[in-house]
Symmetry: D2
Subunit: 252 residues, 4 copies
């Protein structure tokens, strides 16, 4: 989804880049078993990263450097090295503000180096996992620092499973994950509903109501034959227009 | 409180030891500013640790080695080094089971080396902090592995503040932290209520009811003139007898 | 599932009965639209109730009276009438202890009247709904009052959806609902996994580990051609033996 | 606090009224024991209500009718009567949307009848209590319906206890209750910190940071000799200006 949104917005001339956050503790994907995790993708600078980075490059038609992939291992290793060097001047080193500070620093660096006006950050994993909490907190702080919801938007991808013989679409998992996100201080601005369910007006209204998201920001992404159809599918539901307006991106 | 419980049980002849978990990211207390965090305590083997370890040594009349102090920094550094060496055989390294596994391994090592039948583990910080979650999950798993609640008990220390002109004792913070503990899968076996409040029978019954803890396992620890009075205070409320019976410790 | 468990245990000669809790605010099902909620079932005493009661009667081969169906409407109406009559002697009337007290009273009455040694209580709705909270709290208190987990067990029915082209079974919804249950002070003793997923040993071990439930208490109930096959299916997975042993039911 | 805020805003010429929500199940305060709950206040129309209503009348210099006091008992009794009459046309009656709908209806009625441009709604009890959840959900929906945060603001009153010999102010209870509020979909716009703590710039910044509230919207209300000093105290911290600006109230 991230690469498709990136594609849509880039097509409108927005200078953007993409960063992937993988909350696992591996410092990079180099040590990971391809049978378990899928093939590793090797960037032009030699960094071994998650396959998603390959998707980004293909969708953006650009080469990305290794610092566009953050992992828990990479962040904690940096923080622990700094602590050992005495960089924190004797402070008790904590997730807030030290780990979240490092995450924000890495994101700002990647964005500045890419001279991007807009940076899409994809956080892997599931809301509620301990691994992703420091990253989500960092993003919450970042939103505050850049001036609030007019300057940074959260897109929440969630599963809407269909169960039983009659194919009833279940929104409880979405309600759960949105409640969890909110308790972390994050209010999603757009909901992307994955799954086979057609998003009926009723279902869309229900999700809109309990997520505090306008109906036009509830988007369905069913399983499509190829990922290359996803950008067109998103565009047809007005994702590009909504985000451009929401973030006040000029000339797009 | 931990050192006092240790003192009480040691006086009954239970071969025990104590481990302190500090959820901060500093690898050890050596880099920490004494003005902010209090003086560092230096163990006989040269490790610089939290002052609490000094309390343990004084209360137990024993010298403790450096591996009786775990920190987030120490655990994550070990896990990341193992990952870089390929010890995880290409697996995606996660908090569960890899970080929790390392915590359990470190705790077992400290206990075995000390030839202890009982190990008291104090977890610093506050329930609900992201930092302490991997440690609490490790302890939950450990309880399952050692055979359940008859072999491992959780003592939850909580603040019961007194507010207003009439000095009303507030149990809401206790309810909150117990709910949080439970959502992590931990059911406390004893509640230690810190604060100036006298624990009236009413208050004790209320805490007992919503915490699922018998009334005799709700213990008050007010602010005493010196910490050396705490063991006597706990003993007078039956803490020793309760824990010995609860854990089925023979000959104690 | 409840009626099937009832069938299995009744076949072993356990004198039991069944109560259904519907957390909706309708006092009974008489006013409910059959197109929306399904047909109403009329008990021998004329009470109009949820269709599930019909299932119980068929599976047990017995007639049930109207007080075997509790709804939020019925409970609150009773409590509000008592309050207006002054039965609470001027107390501030609260969910805890007044509503939960009424729920426990109604459950005890139904059980005593039916001369049952074991009462199965099915709570409709979803964990986390506000409607079901007073009922779950009442059951938590009841477990404490009857002497703990050896005398009352919780069976948690949860959806394990299968998603995507490769048919991956998702346990996140189960983790979420168990975490929610625990935060309410309820530790499930058995997990019934609904859904098309075959419960592989791996999946069973995973659910067992994070739910603190032994592997043999993780039960799969796929969609079967008729509900009358469910009891046999449960029996083949050892549900009857497990519950009889767990609750120490003699001669069964 | 509510009556003081009302006083401040009324002094600026804003046509306003006040509604008190008491989440207890008593239909009105008439049956309540004065020894336990304090004296009952009798409105001009004869309704027996909570003492707070008396405060409102004194601070506003106005007489309020009985429908300016909502209780769980009053709301549920109305909903259950409507259900019995068939007003819900056979629907399954649920907290959402039926109870929350009734709450919103009652609030709108009270506001319209009082010809108020601004209505202050005080919700008694504690965030996280089951009793207050339907009311908080109703207010969340109401905010959405009136056009979002520019038209309706949430003021969260929270306890900042001071503990120990050195008098350390604890913000954990505030963090907990704000997290709980957020998980219910409510983002506070102003934090009122009750308690003896002086709000140091550090403390204010900390609360501001994790509550996503600007520092000038973090207000301290210590225990004052008389409640009549509270309005002046709030005014001196800029509460009036902040709220007038926040809600875009003209000519005030």
């Amino acid at each position: 989804t991230t690469s498709s949104i990136a594609r849509i917005l880039k097509a409108r001339g927005v200078p953007l880049t993409v960063v992937k956050i993988d909350p696992y503790l591996n410092v990079d994907a180099g040590t990971m078993n391809p049978y378990q995790h899928g093939e590793v993708f090797v960037l032009d600078d030699g960094t071994e990263v998650d396959l998603d980075l390959g998707n980004y490059e293909r969708f953006l038609g650009e080469s990305l450097p290794g610092n566009h992939n953050l992992t828990t291992g990479k962040v904690y290793r940096t923080v622990i090295e700094k602590e050992r060097r005495g960089d924190y001047l004797g402070n008790t080193v904590q997730i807030i503000p030290h780990v979240t500070g490092e995450v924000k620093h890495m994101l700002r660096e990647a964005a500045q180096h890419a001279q991007a006006e807009l940076t899409l950050v994809e956080v892997g994993g599931t809301v509620g996992d301990i691994e992703s909490m420091p990253f989500l907190e960092a993003l919450r702080e970042l939103q505050q620092e850049v001036g609030g919801r007019d300057h940074m938007a959260f897109v929440h991808t969630t599963l809407v499973p269909v169960v039983g013989a009659v194919g009833e679409a279940k929104t409880k998992p979405t309600q759960h994950s949105v409640r969890e996100l909110r308790s972390l201080g994050i209010q999603p601005d757009m909901i992307v509903a994955r799954g086979p369910a057609a998003l009926t007006p009723d279902l869309r209204a229900k999700i809109s109501l309990f997520c505090d998201v306008p109906p036009e920001a509830v988007i369905a992404v069913p399983d499509l034959p190829t990922v290359y159809q996803v950008p067109l599918h998103l565009e047809s539901q007005g994702v590009g227009d909504y985000l451009v307006k929401r973030l006040g991106i000029e000339g797009a």
